[in-house]
Structures are given as structure tokens and as C-alpha cells.
Amino acid sequence: EAEVAQSPRYKITEKSQAVAFWCDPISGHATLYWYRQILGQGPELLVQFQDESVVDDSQLPKDRFSAERLKGVDSTLKIQPAELGDSAMYLCASSFRDREHEQYFGPGTRLTVT
């Protein structure tokens, strides 16, 4: 069964360091989403791609976060510099174009900033 792949699964970094997460969506899924889930909260959308284009990054803290999906397939989310408050689970999801209600989530990357 096709799955969304994410790596690494866990990451511990010191504040002010740079960190990057990778996501490979399900093959054929044009839409890719990055969510952040703080402990005890629901996921919050950071950025949404349609193919290689960003369609929504209104909740992305652009002073330190960046995301790209250069070839419209896999995607990278970067944080530089990391802050203590960035400790969270970073979830990637994907869906077919025009079937946004069927988002399939990856296992997530749990980030701890010390």
C-alpha cells in the first residue's frame, strides 16, 4: 500500500541550528501539505503545494521557515535558526488534485530543540 514517507523520524537539535525535513508523497498526488502539531494540539497547516507551486503559506513563519518542492514531487521543509518553540511533530500529507478531503499523512518528524 502506498504511503507518505518522511525522514528523519526524530530530530534533536540545539537552538540556533538549522534543521531540514524531507517528505515523499504518494505517487500521483499533486497536492502536498506540511503541518505542525504541538503537543496537545491539533495539526496546523504551514504550507500547501500544488505541484511545484505554493498555494498557501500564510501560516508559515517566513523569517525562519522555508519550504520547497522543486520538481513537484518530494519536498523539503527547513528551519533556520531553530528556536525552542519549534519543538513539535512536523507532519507531511498528500492528496490527489481536487480531492483535498482525502489527505494521507506520513508518520511525521518529531523535532526537539534544546
Binding site: 507518505v4 497536492t31 501539505y33 496537545g40 494540539q41 491539533g42 495539526p43 496546523e44 497547516l45 500547501q48 498555494v55 498557501d56 500564510s58 507532519l91 492528496s95 481536487d98 483535498e100 478531503h101 482525502e102 489527505q103 494521507y104 499523512f105 506520513g106 508518520p107 511525521g108
Partner: protein, 113 residues
């Protein structure tokens, strides 16, 4: 501002009990309401509801939407320890970016043997 409020935030029951999880929402342009189950990692899709009064059912789980009163419930009958998880309610609206899910904080369900 669109928002989703879930209650209770946590719940402890014994195997065999029936539970009802609540989700109320405020939205300017409703498209659909979704329920997810989240165990240790990624949320997995349970139901999508778009019309009032039509029950969606999958095994021991069922859900219904009331668009007049702006809420949904998720029922689990004959609970099992494997039902222990966080249940997330999410709203999808029209406008803005299509596909933006607005999640509630979740209800943490613990089923004791």
C-alpha cells in the same frame, strides 16, 4: 474566524463502554467536516461528513453532522483497548486555499481493560 472545538479533551472508559465525542465549529463557508484517529503517529482518516442527518458508519464507529446546530458527534460502541487514541475533528471550508484543514485540539480516549 473559523474554528473547531472538541469535547471532552480527555476521556477514560472501560472496555465495552459506549462513548460519544463532540465537535462544534464555527465556519464562514462550510465544505466538509472530517474525523481522524491519531495513535502514536500520523492521523488516519475515519469519516468525511458534508450533509446533515446522514450517519456514516464503519464497524463500531459512527458519526453524524448537524449543520444547523454546527456540531458533529463520533460514537464508538463496545470500545476496545485498541480504540485508545486521540480523535481529531477537522473542518474544511471553501475560500482561501482549497484543502486547508482546520483541526480541533482532539479528544484523548483511553480504554482500560
Amino acid at each position: 474566524e473559523d474554528k473547531v472545538v472538541q469535547s471532552p479533551l480527555s476521556l477514560v472508559v472501560h472496555e465495552g463502554d459506549t462513548v460519544t465525542l463532540n465537535c462544534s465549529y464555527e465556519v464562514t463557508n462550510f465544505r466538509s467536516l472530517l474525523w481522524y484517529k491519531q495513535e502514536k503517529k500520523a492521523p488516519t482518516f475515519l469519516f468525511m461528513l458534508t450533509s446533515s442527518g446522514i450517519e456514516k458508519k464503519s464497524g463500531r464507529l459512527s458519526s453524524i453532522l448537524d449543520k444547523k446546530e454546527l456540531f458533529s458527534i463520533l460514537n464508538i460502541t463496545a470500545t476496545q483497548t485498541g480504540d485508545s487514541a486521540v480523535y481529531l475533528c477537522a473542518l474544511m471550508n471553501y475560500g482561501g486555499s482549497q484543502g486547508n484543514l482546520i483541526f480541533g485540539k482532539g479528544t484523548k480516549l483511553s480504554v482500560k481493560p
